[in-house]
Amino acid sequence: MTLVLDHIAVSVPDGPDTLTILRDADLAVGAGEVVGLTGASGSGKSTLLAVAGLLRRPDEGRVVIDGTDASSLGRRARTALRGSAVGLVFQSATLFPALTAIEQLELVAHVNGRLDAGARARAAELLDAVGLGHRRRARPAQLSGGERQRVGIARALMNEPAVVLADEPTAALDDERGREAMAILASEAARRDVATLIVTHNPDQLPAGTRRVHLHDGQVVDAAAVLG
């Protein structure tokens, strides 16, 4: 499996008490597989995603990405692993206002020390793949919400990641644009053999064939078993 979350536990202080967000959460996503994660608001979906994306250390459990156990890694090594093996898609397609669409992608290569002719070509190819080849020089303010999210998806794929994690990528889009973004995300992930985990409030937008899991009481369960 490309992404393995093994017995993840996360708790946070809640006044004088402790609030358990995740307990014994297990999840495995294979290469090219797309998994949709649902759950009630505040159930810990984004926390699980943060743990999977090495943005947050779990209190217990292991995170294995593309064969590397991140649990024992220091901060720098975790940052480097995130940069090289993880692609992130955010809720509102957080883009840098000063950068054009293609520069949003080139920045990822620059951060990872690999901005060369090959990276520039890849950035152009990814924008073509998400249907924005003609909008390369546009800045975020000149793009629609759907276009911005497609740039965000292309950016997540820029570093040829083993894992893509999407945090409610359609939350800021209308239904049609949301389905479109989901379809692009799923098809590009499958085409590029990337393990993809999509957190969503709207499972209807998930492409057909997507494995669906649900976060319930701090644990990841088969969505069908809970939701029917």
């Binding site: 480097a80 090289s84 992130l88 955010f90 951060v111 800045r139």
Partner: protein
């Protein structure tokens, strides 16, 4: 600095604004540097131009020629000291009147014709011949010419102008040289008793000087230390230094405040950058590089404008811009600006990349 350079282009209005503030501070700092150097020149350039390394004064004179009176007995041990060149030096301020009735202020230096202070045959000849006076080149610009008669007010002694020496002043007054004998006559009349202000010294090692100092009953100090004896010198330099320090501190605070606010505004962007795999080092290089570009460009522009303004300053204002002090002032401004941003640097490194994911934490 992939992001920094593009941010600079994109947010140029914001950066031009803070750059203007920094540039104005650099302009003021450089102008003050010019004024400070000009004042220093006006205060001590006459003494600085003398080829001496030390001065022996009367103990307790505190670098002031007017408080120091020495006699030939104080000079003798110095003339016998190995490796030390010594010459009596008299220094006094006088008013003089030109033939046209114009009043001049003069700091008159008196020394002997065989003194090492008279650097060439012309100077020695002028000091050895008939009584006369050699004045600062500066006075040529005020219409004084060789052969003019200057009347020294007080003793009412008339002396012909024998020539011009280097441009210099002491205590903000143009310098002039005459023989020690004539100087003594101007100051003490016929009752000089061999008195003079100080012993000018050159060379010799510290031990020899210390021994001669004890034997002569004098207090020796370096030339640079003796600058403090120039009237108003210490107060002027202290005032200028204080103003420059305040300006630099204000600049550091302005830059620090701007960078802190700018960093706070960018917190989510910084978090996103880290979430994309950027290390703290990468983010810091990007942020500080951006600030350094603004600082250096604005400081260079401000200092350049000050140099241009300096060209317009007339002779009435003591103003002198030299590459060294201007460069030092600019470098200090940049370094302090960067130091002022340290609070923001801490903020940059403490941003948690998890904030890029939004609210559910």
């Amino acid at each position: 600095m992939f992001l920094a350079l593009r941010d600079l282009r994109f947010g140029r209005a914001r950066f031009v604004l803070v750059g203007t503030v920094i540039g104005l501070v650099a302009l003021l700092t450089t102008l003050l540097s010019g004024l400070a150097t000009g004042l220093v020149d006006d205060g001590i350039s006459g003494l600085r131009g003398l080829p001496l390394t030390h001065l022996a004064l009367q103990p307790g004179a505190e670098s002031s020629f007017s408080r120091s009176t020495l006699r030939p007995a104080n000079l003798e041990p110095w003339t016998e000291a190995d490796g030390v060149e010594a010459a009596p030096l008299g220094v006094s301020f006088f008013n003089a009147k030109t033939e046209d009735g114009e009043t001049l202020d003069l700091a008159v230096f008196g020394t002997t014709p065989d003194s090492f202070l008279a650097p060439n045959a012309t100077a020695r000849g002028a000091l050895a011949g008939e009584p006369g006076i050699v004045v600062s080149e500066e006075l040529r610009g005020q219409g004084v010419e060789v052969g003019d008669e200057l009347t020294i007010v007080g003793p009412d002694q008339t002396l012909p102008v024998l020539g011009f020496t280097y441009t210099g002043s002491y205590g903000h007054v143009d310098i002039a040289f005459t023989s020690l004998e004539e100087w003594q006559h101007l100051v003490y009349g016929d009752d000089a008793d061999g008195r003079f202000s100080a012993v000018a010294l050159r060379g010799g090692d510290a031990e020899v000087r210390a021994a001669a100092d004890r034997a002569a009953g004098t207090a020796t100090e370096t030339k640079a230390h003796a600058y403090a004896g120039s009237p108003g010198y210490s107060a002027e330099t202290a005032t200028m230094t204080l103003i420059r320090v305040f300006l630099l501190a204000i600049s550091a605070l302005v830059v620090g405040a701007f960078f802190t606010v700018w960093t706070i505004q960018r917190t989510r962007q910084i978090g996103l950058l880290k979430a994309l795999g950027a290390s703290n080092g990468y983010v810091l290089r990007d942020s500080l590089g951006q600030l350094a570009i603004v600082l250096v460009a604005a400081t260079a522009a401000g200092a350049g404008a000050a140099v241009a303004v300096g060209q317009l300053v007339g002779d009435e204002v003591p103003f002198s811009l030299q590459a060294g002090p201007v460069a030092t002032s600019a470098v200090v401004l940049v370094v302090l600006g960067l130091a002022g941003s340290l609070v923001a640097v801490r903020k940059v490194t403490s941003v948690d990349p998890v904030i890029a994911l939004g609210a559910e934490h």
